[in-house]
Amino acid sequence: MSHPRHQLDEALLTPVRLSLMAALAEVDEADFATLRELLDVADSPLSKAISHLQELGYVRVEKRTLGGRSRTWVAATGAGRSALAAHVAALHAITGGAAG
């Protein structure tokens, strides 16, 4: 049986990408400005994280305009949610649930 470390998802090993997926796990969609506030990061690292996860099929991005304001909405896909769940399970296995 392989060490649980091998179950960790490479894409979720950085703070911004991991936080982004964790934030999206609680909602159906969140807009860019809200994610920036929740994660307390600048536009550039957030944009890079979204693009990376979008390429992997972990998030879906949509631009919508309402009331004259255009917003970018980001949602976790099924694959993204599964990846986060597997990553969290691996982290728990490694730490023996010490963070709980």
């Binding site: 950085t14 936080s19 934030a23 159906d28 969609e29 809200t34 890079k48 309402l66 304001r69 963070a99």
Partner: protein
């Protein structure tokens, strides 16, 4: 920074912290939904009571215009919260229960002669059922906010409105006032109802423009929503008054119209940013 690797324990703590912060978002929107639930309950209760005791309960139909107006503004409010949540199993059960309650109470009030107090019961049950799902979500959010060391009251401060939102807020105030003036006058009521329907079509067609009602919901803060709630409550009181005491004279109707419109109209006044 982006390529920085996290310690495993720190990663788990980060996930928990961000989840709590994320699940605490959108509380102001849920407060508006709780209020809308109470409003719907009051409306159904009033409708049931008036059908039981008044000769002409048709005045309550005008309240539909206010409810439609509220729904149109609510879409923007959801956008304002910055997050969207789909319906969960509990929400769907509540929704079905609400529909059953509306249809059965209306059918009963038409088919059977119900006592006047039945309206109060239907209204109270209705308000509880409609407000239950958002109230539960709100409680969950407040727990998450407390766990992450934050408060949910920081959302939706009352900021100065943009020009288009200010004008649309003033128009909403005028519409609420017009509904109050038109109550109990069949021709005026019909005219206003048609005006509301046309306005709703325009609002739907212009959804993306800054002149849509959604924009109002996007910009309204706690103060604006409180003013809107007060105006709608005054309107409900006026509906009950007309149904029980009969149509008002024009000067009285105009005076009541001004009182109903005043809270929303005052909230549209320009103010300096803090």
């Amino acid at each position: 920074m982006e390529s920085e690797r996290m310690d495993d324990l720190e990663a788990l703590r980060t996930i928990e912290r961000v989840r709590q912060r994320s699940s605490a978002r959108g509380s102001a929107y849920e407060w508006v939904n709780v209020w809308f639930g109470v409003l719907l309950g009051l409306y159904i209760g009033l409708l049931t009571t008036l059908t039981a005791i008044a000769e002409d309960p048709a005045v309550t139909q005008m309240m539909i215009a206010a409810l439609v107006l509220h729904s149109a503004i609510l879409e923007g409010a959801r956008e304002h919260s910055g997050v969207r949540r789909g319906l969960r199993a509990g929400d769907i059960i509540m929704l079905v229960a609400s529909l059953v309650l509306i249809v059965s109470s209306l059918a009963l009030s038409i088919l059977v002669s119900l006592p006047a107090w039945s309206g109060a019961v239907v209204g109270a049950v209705g308000a509880a059922v409609f407000a239950a799902a958002p109230a539960v979500r709100l409680q969950r959010m407040q727990r998450s906010a407390a766990a992450s060391g934050r408060t949910t009251t920081a959302e939706w401060p009352t900021e100065p409105l943009s020009r288009s939102a200010r004008i649309l807020t003033a128009a909403a105030a005028a519409l609420l006032g017009a509904i109050a003036v038109g109550q109990g006058h069949p021709v005026a009521s019909l005219g206003i109802l048609l005006l509301v329907i046309v306005a709703m079509f325009v609002a739907l067609a212009a959804k993306e423009s800054p002149w849509s009602l959604a924009r109002v919901g996007m910009e309204w803060g706690r103060g604006h929503w409180a003013a809107f709630g007060l105006s709608v409550l005054l309107l409900l009181g006026d509906v009950a008054l007309i149904a029980l005491a009969g149509p008002q004279t024009l000067p009285v109707a105009l005076a009541i119209g001004v009182v109903v419109a005043a809270p929303v109209a005052l909230s549209a006044l320009p103010r300096r940013a803090r």
